[in-house]
Amino acid sequence: MSDLLTVLDYDFMRRALLAAALVGVAAPLVGTFLVQRGLSLVGDGLGHVALAGVAAGVLTGTAPRWTALVAAVGAALLVEAVRTRGRTGGDVALAVVFYGGIAGGVVLMSLAPAGTTTNLEGYLFGAITTTSPGDVRVFAVLAAVLLVVVTVLRPWLFAVAVDEEHARAAGLPTRALTSALAVLTAVTVVLSMRTVGLLLISALMVLPVAAAQRVCRSFGPVVVAGSAVGLVASVGGVTVSAAAGTPSGGTIVLLALAAFALAVLVGGLRRRGLSRSWAGTATRGARP
């Protein structure tokens, strides 16, 4: 325990924990709506494209987080446009965008002048202990924007996620809402790339939501519980990885998986308990 507490003695660990907390709360907020719309893996695809943005930043000497954000937002809006136009082979178009992104990113990285620090592995798998004070400020602003927008628009995002046809018929601005969700997803991907890396970002957006929906009966609690699980997995994962010397990104995702497994168990026990209660009631009712 004392080893775990000593991690707080270091500035870089305090920044890492704060960044993890921000990402852990924000990612499942957006993930809830992606899961509801059957788009659980779109974060993974946008992560691929963000890598091309990172490479462009490295080559041009621009802060990679901003070029990654531009690339991810552009790809998110393109993917949404392809989806809403309903062109045949839409999934093929998505594959072209996503795999073109990661392939382009790897090739662009290789073109960096000799001696340029690319830190490709850090972007792919996360490098949260390298979070700078400037990074924390940017993360805080992005997370705050995500939190405010999702909170304000939650009912409308829910309407589109549950039944887009009805939302459109009711006169809701479905195209603007789905585009807003696409942009929020891109922002979340870039926010999370330092924490869990571009290859694992979908896990942090989806697994806490998957855990929450096993134990919650309604949408509102799933949103809150998903963020709570994400917070515990992220902060816990960074802490455990510091103590155990394991990669932070993978540790965070494994903790989120453990939370999902626990939720499956708890949910199953609750349903079995409810079933026995109903069976007992039916049996008592059947007695003469």
Binding site: L153, H166, A167, R168, R217
Partner: protein, 206 residues
């Protein structure tokens, strides 16, 4: 009217007015739903014009169930119907949120689901889910109500309840257009019937 430039319905010359409940009948694939979707703007009007004189449209889609990947309760789904009447600023007011809750409760009571507001949609039967979708359309306080097969999977007792609800809406000034294979189930509300056949819409004699 049709899709991708291909007409499915021709020579459509109909009007639905306030205080009317117009039933649209016809064989499967005849174009009944296309007529409804054209009013919603989801099918193309390839010639002539279509005018909808009110933005307050309630819609009950033809759907066997509203499967929700993330759990959603009946109350949460029905509350979606209030969104056209609200905005983020209005929702900050407690009085507005209370009015929305009361409207949802009243609509659920009308369709016989008053005790199911906190039940996950996935736990309802197909007919109960259809009634929840009717409630979602009712809370929007529509001036035009479009329903696509609202009685499918609904038991006889609740079909009668639905007919009473539609008749009450009609008498209150709502224009109702309902696509149905079971016009007899809604006979108590229907004031006029149209039949779709061979790509054309005709009036059914009373």
């Amino acid at each position: 009217m049709g899709y991708a430039g291909r007409p499915l319905l021709r020579d459509v010359d109909i009007a639905v007015h306030r205080c009317e409940c117009v039933a649209v009948t016809g064989a499967n694939g005849s174009g009944k739903t296309t007529l409804l979707r054209a009013v919603l703007g989801a099918a193309q009007v390839l010639g002539g014009s279509l005018e909808v004189s009110t933005p307050r449209v309630g819609y009950v889609p033809q759907r066997d169930s509203l499967a929700s990947v993330v759990p959603a309760t009946v109350g949460e789904v029905v509350a979606v119907g209030r969104l056209p009447l609200t905005d983020p600023l209005r929702r900050l007011r407690p009085s507005a949120r209370r009015a929305d809750r009361e409207a949802v409760a009243a609509a659920l009571d009308l369709v016989g689901l008053a005790d199911r507001a906190r039940t996950p949609m996935a736990q309802l039967s197909g007919g109960q889910q259809r009634r929840a979708l009717v409630a979602r359309a009712l809370v929007a306080e529509p001036e035009l109500l479009l329903l696509d097969e609202p009685t499918a999977g609904v038991d006889a007792r609740h079909q009668r309840v639905l007919a009473e609800v539609l008749d009450r809406m009609r008498r209150a000034g709502v224009a109702v257009l309902v696509v149905t294979h079971e016009p007899a189930a809604l006979a108590g509300a229907i004031t006029r019937s149209l039949a779709v056949a061979d790509g054309r819409v005709g009036t059914v004699a009373a």
